[in-house]
Amino acid sequence: MAEIVAAFGIPHTPSFVATVAKEGPEAPVAKLFQSIKNYLDDVKPDVIVKFDSDHWNTFFYDNWPTFAVGISNETAGPIDQTPSMPWYKVLVDESLGQHIQNVGVNNGFDLSFTKEFLIDHSILVPLHFLTPNMQIPIVPIFINTFVPPMPSANRCHDLGKMVRKAIESWPNKKRVVIMASGSLSLEVGGPRMFEGKTFGVPDPIWAERVVKYFESSNINELVKNSTTEQIAHAGNIAGEILNFIALLGVVGEKKPIFLETQLELGNAFVAWRLDK
Protein backbone atom coordinates (compact mmCIF):
# COMPACT_ATOMS: atom_id res chain seq x y z
CA MET A 1 0.00 0.00 0.00
CA ALA A 2 1.02 3.61 -0.52
CA GLU A 3 2.35 5.68 2.38
CA ILE A 4 1.64 9.37 3.02
CA VAL A 5 5.04 10.79 3.93
CA ALA A 6 4.61 14.56 4.28
CA ALA A 7 2.23 17.47 3.79
CA PHE A 8 2.92 21.05 2.76
CA GLY A 9 0.77 24.18 2.90
CA ILE A 10 2.28 27.02 0.88
CA PRO A 11 1.33 30.14 -1.07
CA HIS A 12 1.15 30.41 -4.85
CA THR A 13 1.51 34.20 -5.22
CA PRO A 14 2.23 34.65 -8.98
CA SER A 15 4.66 37.57 -8.54
CA PHE A 16 7.11 35.34 -6.60
CA VAL A 17 8.34 33.87 -9.87
CA ALA A 18 9.43 37.24 -11.32
CA THR A 19 10.80 38.37 -7.95
CA VAL A 20 13.09 35.36 -7.65
CA ALA A 21 14.05 35.54 -11.35
CA LYS A 22 15.26 39.08 -10.65
CA GLU A 23 16.68 38.80 -7.12
CA GLY A 24 18.01 35.25 -7.21
CA PRO A 25 18.21 32.55 -4.51
CA GLU A 26 18.94 35.09 -1.75
CA ALA A 27 15.46 36.63 -2.07
CA PRO A 28 13.56 35.96 1.20
CA VAL A 29 10.78 34.10 -0.61
CA ALA A 30 13.30 31.94 -2.49
CA LYS A 31 14.74 30.90 0.89
CA LEU A 32 11.29 30.02 2.22
CA PHE A 33 10.61 27.79 -0.78
CA GLN A 34 14.10 26.30 -0.43
CA SER A 35 13.31 25.31 3.19
CA ILE A 36 10.13 23.59 2.01
CA LYS A 37 12.04 21.97 -0.87
CA ASN A 38 14.57 20.53 1.56
CA TYR A 39 11.78 18.81 3.51
CA LEU A 40 10.20 17.62 0.28
CA ASP A 41 13.47 16.18 -1.07
CA ASP A 42 14.11 14.46 2.30
CA VAL A 43 10.94 12.36 2.05
CA LYS A 44 11.68 11.26 -1.55
CA PRO A 45 8.13 11.46 -2.90
CA ASP A 46 6.92 9.37 -5.85
CA VAL A 47 3.75 11.40 -6.35
CA ILE A 48 2.23 14.70 -5.15
CA VAL A 49 -1.51 15.05 -4.49
CA LYS A 50 -2.47 18.72 -4.65
CA PHE A 51 -5.62 20.38 -3.28
CA ASP A 52 -6.09 23.32 -5.57
CA SER A 53 -8.18 26.40 -6.34
CA ASP A 54 -8.48 26.87 -10.06
CA HIS A 55 -8.69 30.63 -10.77
CA TRP A 56 -11.34 30.52 -13.53
CA ASN A 57 -8.80 29.05 -15.96
CA THR A 58 -9.09 25.26 -15.95
CA PHE A 59 -12.84 25.66 -15.36
CA PHE A 60 -15.32 28.46 -15.92
CA TYR A 61 -18.93 29.31 -15.09
CA ASP A 62 -20.09 27.16 -18.02
CA ASN A 63 -18.97 24.05 -16.17
CA TRP A 64 -17.78 24.47 -12.60
CA PRO A 65 -17.27 21.48 -10.29
CA THR A 66 -17.40 21.70 -6.50
CA PHE A 67 -14.78 18.94 -6.28
CA ALA A 68 -12.96 17.46 -9.28
CA VAL A 69 -9.99 15.16 -9.83
CA GLY A 70 -7.64 15.52 -12.78
CA ILE A 71 -7.35 12.00 -14.21
CA SER A 72 -4.78 11.95 -16.99
CA ASN A 73 -1.16 11.13 -17.83
CA GLU A 74 -0.12 14.71 -18.33
CA THR A 75 -1.06 18.34 -18.12
CA ALA A 76 0.64 21.67 -18.85
CA GLY A 77 0.64 25.35 -17.98
CA PRO A 78 0.55 28.05 -16.76
CA ILE A 79 -2.44 28.91 -18.96
CA ASP A 80 -2.77 32.25 -17.15
CA GLN A 81 0.69 33.34 -18.37
CA THR A 82 2.41 33.86 -15.02
CA PRO A 83 5.15 36.44 -15.65
CA SER A 84 8.70 34.98 -15.93
CA MET A 85 7.46 31.38 -15.72
CA PRO A 86 8.30 28.98 -18.57
CA TRP A 87 5.66 26.72 -20.11
CA TYR A 88 5.80 23.44 -18.22
CA LYS A 89 4.64 19.96 -19.13
CA VAL A 90 3.68 18.11 -15.95
CA LEU A 91 3.23 14.37 -15.41
CA VAL A 92 -0.05 13.28 -13.83
CA ASP A 93 -0.56 9.95 -12.02
CA GLU A 94 -3.67 8.65 -13.73
CA SER A 95 -3.88 5.49 -11.63
CA LEU A 96 -3.96 7.34 -8.29
CA GLY A 97 -6.39 9.95 -9.63
CA GLN A 98 -8.79 7.24 -10.78
CA HIS A 99 -8.41 5.42 -7.45
CA ILE A 100 -9.24 8.59 -5.47
CA GLN A 101 -12.32 9.19 -7.61
CA ASN A 102 -13.48 5.59 -7.13
CA VAL A 103 -12.99 5.68 -3.36
CA GLY A 104 -14.67 9.09 -3.20
CA VAL A 105 -17.79 8.09 -5.12
CA ASN A 106 -18.06 4.93 -3.01
CA ASN A 107 -17.80 6.95 0.20
CA GLY A 108 -20.28 9.77 -0.31
CA PHE A 109 -18.06 12.14 -2.33
CA ASP A 110 -19.44 12.38 -5.86
CA LEU A 111 -16.24 13.73 -7.37
CA SER A 112 -16.26 15.18 -10.86
CA PHE A 113 -13.30 14.52 -13.08
CA THR A 114 -11.51 15.95 -16.08
CA LYS A 115 -9.38 13.92 -18.46
CA GLU A 116 -8.03 16.77 -20.57
CA PHE A 117 -7.08 19.93 -18.73
CA LEU A 118 -4.48 22.66 -18.41
CA ILE A 119 -3.39 24.21 -15.11
CA ASP A 120 -2.73 27.73 -13.86
CA HIS A 121 -0.31 29.42 -11.45
CA SER A 122 -2.04 27.94 -8.41
CA ILE A 123 -0.43 24.55 -9.11
CA LEU A 124 2.60 25.74 -11.02
CA VAL A 125 4.04 28.43 -8.73
CA PRO A 126 4.65 25.83 -5.98
CA LEU A 127 5.99 23.27 -8.47
CA HIS A 128 8.22 25.87 -10.16
CA PHE A 129 10.04 26.30 -6.85
CA LEU A 130 9.74 22.79 -5.38
CA THR A 131 10.08 20.39 -8.33
CA PRO A 132 11.55 22.58 -11.08
CA ASN A 133 12.40 19.56 -13.25
CA MET A 134 8.74 18.47 -13.06
CA GLN A 135 9.99 14.94 -12.45
CA ILE A 136 7.32 13.98 -9.88
CA PRO A 137 3.79 13.23 -11.14
CA ILE A 138 0.90 15.05 -9.54
CA VAL A 139 -2.79 14.40 -8.91
CA PRO A 140 -4.78 17.65 -8.78
CA ILE A 141 -7.94 17.73 -6.67
CA PHE A 142 -9.78 20.93 -7.53
CA ILE A 143 -11.97 22.53 -4.86
CA ASN A 144 -14.40 25.34 -5.62
CA THR A 145 -13.03 27.89 -3.18
CA PHE A 146 -14.26 31.02 -4.99
CA VAL A 147 -17.74 30.77 -6.51
CA PRO A 148 -20.68 30.77 -4.07
CA PRO A 149 -22.00 28.47 -2.84
CA MET A 150 -18.64 27.01 -1.85
CA PRO A 151 -18.40 23.70 0.02
CA SER A 152 -18.31 24.12 3.80
CA ALA A 153 -15.11 23.90 5.80
CA ASN A 154 -16.45 20.76 7.42
CA ARG A 155 -17.09 19.17 4.02
CA CYS A 156 -13.56 20.03 2.84
CA HIS A 157 -12.12 18.58 6.04
CA ASP A 158 -14.05 15.37 5.36
CA LEU A 159 -12.77 15.41 1.78
CA GLY A 160 -9.23 15.37 3.17
CA LYS A 161 -10.06 12.42 5.44
CA MET A 162 -11.51 10.54 2.47
CA VAL A 163 -8.41 11.29 0.37
CA ARG A 164 -6.23 9.95 3.17
CA LYS A 165 -8.22 6.72 3.19
CA ALA A 166 -8.01 6.51 -0.60
CA ILE A 167 -4.23 6.96 -0.72
CA GLU A 168 -3.67 4.47 2.10
CA SER A 169 -5.71 1.88 0.23
CA TRP A 170 -3.93 2.45 -3.10
CA PRO A 171 -2.19 -0.86 -3.84
CA ASN A 172 1.12 0.63 -4.94
CA LYS A 173 4.20 0.88 -2.81
CA LYS A 174 4.59 4.61 -3.43
CA ARG A 175 5.55 7.54 -1.21
CA VAL A 176 2.85 10.19 -1.46
CA VAL A 177 3.11 13.86 -0.53
CA ILE A 178 0.04 16.07 -0.01
CA MET A 179 0.12 19.72 -0.90
CA ALA A 180 -2.31 22.62 -0.62
CA SER A 181 -1.76 26.20 -1.59
CA GLY A 182 -3.29 29.61 -1.26
CA SER A 183 -3.51 32.67 0.96
CA LEU A 184 -5.30 32.97 4.30
CA SER A 185 -6.61 36.50 3.69
CA LEU A 186 -6.49 37.96 0.19
CA GLU A 187 -8.42 40.31 -2.07
CA VAL A 188 -7.41 40.41 -5.74
CA GLY A 189 -8.82 43.06 -8.06
CA GLY A 190 -11.60 44.05 -5.66
CA PRO A 191 -12.41 47.20 -3.65
CA ARG A 192 -10.27 46.08 -0.69
CA MET A 193 -6.98 46.17 -2.63
CA PHE A 194 -4.17 48.18 -1.04
CA GLU A 195 -3.61 51.57 -2.62
CA GLY A 196 -1.49 51.20 -5.77
CA LYS A 197 -1.37 47.39 -5.57
CA THR A 198 -3.23 44.61 -7.37
CA PHE A 199 -4.16 42.94 -4.08
CA GLY A 200 -5.01 43.60 -0.45
CA VAL A 201 -5.09 41.64 2.81
CA PRO A 202 -8.50 42.57 4.27
CA ASP A 203 -8.28 40.51 7.45
CA PRO A 204 -4.71 40.08 8.75
CA ILE A 205 -6.08 39.22 12.22
CA TRP A 206 -7.85 36.20 10.73
CA ALA A 207 -4.64 35.16 8.92
CA GLU A 208 -2.80 35.29 12.26
CA ARG A 209 -5.51 33.26 13.96
CA VAL A 210 -5.31 30.61 11.23
CA VAL A 211 -1.56 30.37 11.71
CA LYS A 212 -2.11 29.79 15.46
CA TYR A 213 -4.57 26.99 14.62
CA PHE A 214 -1.88 25.42 12.40
CA GLU A 215 0.75 25.78 15.14
CA SER A 216 -1.40 24.17 17.82
CA SER A 217 -3.03 21.75 15.33
CA ASN A 218 -6.39 23.00 16.57
CA ILE A 219 -8.22 21.80 13.47
CA ASN A 220 -11.69 21.68 15.02
CA GLU A 221 -11.55 25.39 15.90
CA LEU A 222 -10.23 26.24 12.44
CA VAL A 223 -13.04 24.30 10.78
CA LYS A 224 -15.66 25.78 13.12
CA ASN A 225 -14.51 29.35 12.53
CA SER A 226 -13.98 29.13 8.75
CA THR A 227 -17.56 30.13 8.04
CA THR A 228 -18.80 31.55 4.74
CA GLU A 229 -19.03 34.97 6.42
CA GLN A 230 -15.49 34.81 7.83
CA ILE A 231 -14.08 33.75 4.48
CA ALA A 232 -15.91 36.59 2.66
CA HIS A 233 -14.61 39.03 5.27
CA ALA A 234 -11.04 37.84 4.64
CA GLY A 235 -11.22 38.66 0.90
CA ASN A 236 -12.54 37.51 -2.46
CA ILE A 237 -9.70 34.94 -2.71
CA ALA A 238 -9.66 33.91 0.97
CA GLY A 239 -11.65 30.74 0.19
CA GLU A 240 -8.24 29.21 -0.49
CA ILE A 241 -8.25 28.35 3.23
CA LEU A 242 -10.47 25.43 2.16
CA ASN A 243 -7.44 23.84 0.45
CA PHE A 244 -5.55 24.00 3.75
CA ILE A 245 -8.53 22.56 5.61
CA ALA A 246 -8.71 19.62 3.18
CA LEU A 247 -4.95 19.17 3.70
CA LEU A 248 -5.51 19.05 7.48
CA GLY A 249 -8.09 16.31 6.91
CA VAL A 250 -5.16 14.26 5.62
CA VAL A 251 -2.67 15.45 8.26
CA GLY A 252 -4.85 14.83 11.32
CA GLU A 253 -3.68 16.15 14.69
CA LYS A 254 0.07 16.22 13.97
CA LYS A 255 1.92 19.44 14.66
CA PRO A 256 3.94 21.07 11.89
CA ILE A 257 7.73 20.77 11.85
CA PHE A 258 8.12 24.05 9.96
CA LEU A 259 6.02 27.21 9.98
CA GLU A 260 6.93 30.64 8.64
CA THR A 261 4.57 33.44 7.72
CA GLN A 262 4.40 36.37 5.33
CA LEU A 263 1.49 38.10 7.01
CA GLU A 264 1.84 41.21 4.83
CA LEU A 265 0.67 38.93 1.98
CA GLY A 266 -1.67 36.78 4.07
CA ASN A 267 0.64 33.81 3.47
CA ALA A 268 2.05 30.88 5.44
CA PHE A 269 4.62 28.18 4.64
CA VAL A 270 3.93 25.03 6.64
CA ALA A 271 5.41 21.51 6.59
CA TRP A 272 4.35 18.30 8.32
CA ARG A 273 6.24 14.98 8.40
CA LEU A 274 3.81 12.05 8.33
CA ASP A 275 6.06 9.06 7.60
CA LYS A 276 6.48 6.36 10.17
Binding site: V188, G189, G196, T198
Partner: protein, 87 residues
Amino acid sequence: MSVYQINKICREILLDLNFRSKTQNDPSKSISVFSLTTEERKFLLSGDVASLYKLGANAFLLQHLARFNVFGLNYENYNKKMRSIKT
Protein backbone atom coordinates in the same frame (compact mmCIF):
# COMPACT_ATOMS: atom_id res chain seq x y z
CA MET B 1 -28.23 41.65 -17.02
CA SER B 2 -25.50 39.57 -18.67
CA VAL B 3 -22.89 39.25 -15.95
CA TYR B 4 -21.88 35.89 -17.36
CA GLN B 5 -20.96 37.57 -20.66
CA ILE B 6 -18.89 40.26 -18.91
CA ASN B 7 -17.00 37.63 -16.93
CA LYS B 8 -16.48 35.66 -20.13
CA ILE B 9 -15.03 38.68 -21.94
CA CYS B 10 -12.55 39.20 -19.08
CA ARG B 11 -11.48 35.58 -19.20
CA GLU B 12 -11.11 35.59 -23.00
CA ILE B 13 -8.87 38.66 -22.71
CA LEU B 14 -6.51 36.52 -20.61
CA LEU B 15 -6.72 33.24 -22.49
CA ASP B 16 -7.41 34.15 -26.14
CA LEU B 17 -4.52 36.18 -27.55
CA ASN B 18 -6.34 36.85 -30.80
CA PHE B 19 -9.40 38.24 -29.00
CA ARG B 20 -7.09 40.25 -26.75
CA SER B 21 -5.31 41.99 -29.63
CA LYS B 22 -8.61 42.60 -31.47
CA THR B 23 -10.03 44.20 -28.33
CA GLN B 24 -6.92 46.33 -27.84
CA ASN B 25 -7.25 47.58 -31.44
CA ASP B 26 -11.00 47.92 -31.90
CA PRO B 27 -12.85 47.33 -28.61
CA SER B 28 -16.32 48.22 -29.84
CA LYS B 29 -16.19 45.82 -32.80
CA SER B 30 -14.47 43.10 -30.78
CA ILE B 31 -17.16 42.86 -28.10
CA SER B 32 -20.06 43.21 -30.57
CA VAL B 33 -20.45 39.41 -30.72
CA PHE B 34 -21.40 39.23 -27.01
CA SER B 35 -25.00 39.72 -25.83
CA LEU B 36 -24.67 42.69 -23.52
CA THR B 37 -27.17 45.30 -22.46
CA THR B 38 -26.61 48.87 -23.69
CA GLU B 39 -25.54 49.82 -20.18
CA GLU B 40 -23.06 46.96 -19.85
CA ARG B 41 -21.54 47.81 -23.23
CA LYS B 42 -21.17 51.44 -22.16
CA PHE B 43 -19.51 50.51 -18.84
CA LEU B 44 -17.11 48.10 -20.56
CA LEU B 45 -16.07 50.45 -23.36
CA SER B 46 -15.47 53.28 -20.90
CA GLY B 47 -13.51 51.00 -18.53
CA ASP B 48 -16.03 51.66 -15.74
CA VAL B 49 -15.03 48.64 -13.67
CA ALA B 50 -16.66 49.96 -10.50
CA SER B 51 -20.08 49.92 -12.21
CA LEU B 52 -19.42 46.48 -13.70
CA TYR B 53 -18.48 45.22 -10.23
CA LYS B 54 -21.69 46.65 -8.82
CA LEU B 55 -23.63 44.77 -11.53
CA GLY B 56 -22.05 41.59 -10.17
CA ALA B 57 -19.02 41.04 -12.42
CA ASN B 58 -16.18 39.17 -10.72
CA ALA B 59 -13.32 41.37 -9.45
CA PHE B 60 -10.59 38.79 -10.01
CA LEU B 61 -11.65 38.51 -13.65
CA LEU B 62 -12.15 42.26 -14.12
CA GLN B 63 -8.52 42.84 -13.20
CA HIS B 64 -7.44 40.97 -16.36
CA LEU B 65 -8.72 44.03 -18.26
CA ALA B 66 -6.16 46.21 -16.46
CA ARG B 67 -3.35 43.66 -16.87
CA PHE B 68 -3.78 43.70 -20.66
CA ASN B 69 -4.65 47.39 -21.03
CA VAL B 70 -8.02 47.08 -22.70
CA PHE B 71 -10.86 49.62 -22.48
CA GLY B 72 -8.40 52.34 -21.39
CA LEU B 73 -7.50 50.50 -18.20
CA ASN B 74 -4.16 50.00 -16.50
CA TYR B 75 -3.29 48.79 -13.01
CA GLU B 76 -3.09 52.34 -11.69
CA ASN B 77 -6.49 53.64 -12.83
CA TYR B 78 -8.09 50.25 -12.15
CA ASN B 79 -6.90 50.40 -8.53
CA LYS B 80 -8.35 53.90 -8.06
CA LYS B 81 -11.69 53.06 -9.67
CA MET B 82 -12.16 49.85 -7.68
CA ARG B 83 -11.07 51.39 -4.40
CA SER B 84 -13.65 54.17 -4.86
CA ILE B 85 -16.33 51.59 -4.06
CA LYS B 86 -17.47 51.75 -0.44
CA THR B 87 -17.30 48.35 1.24
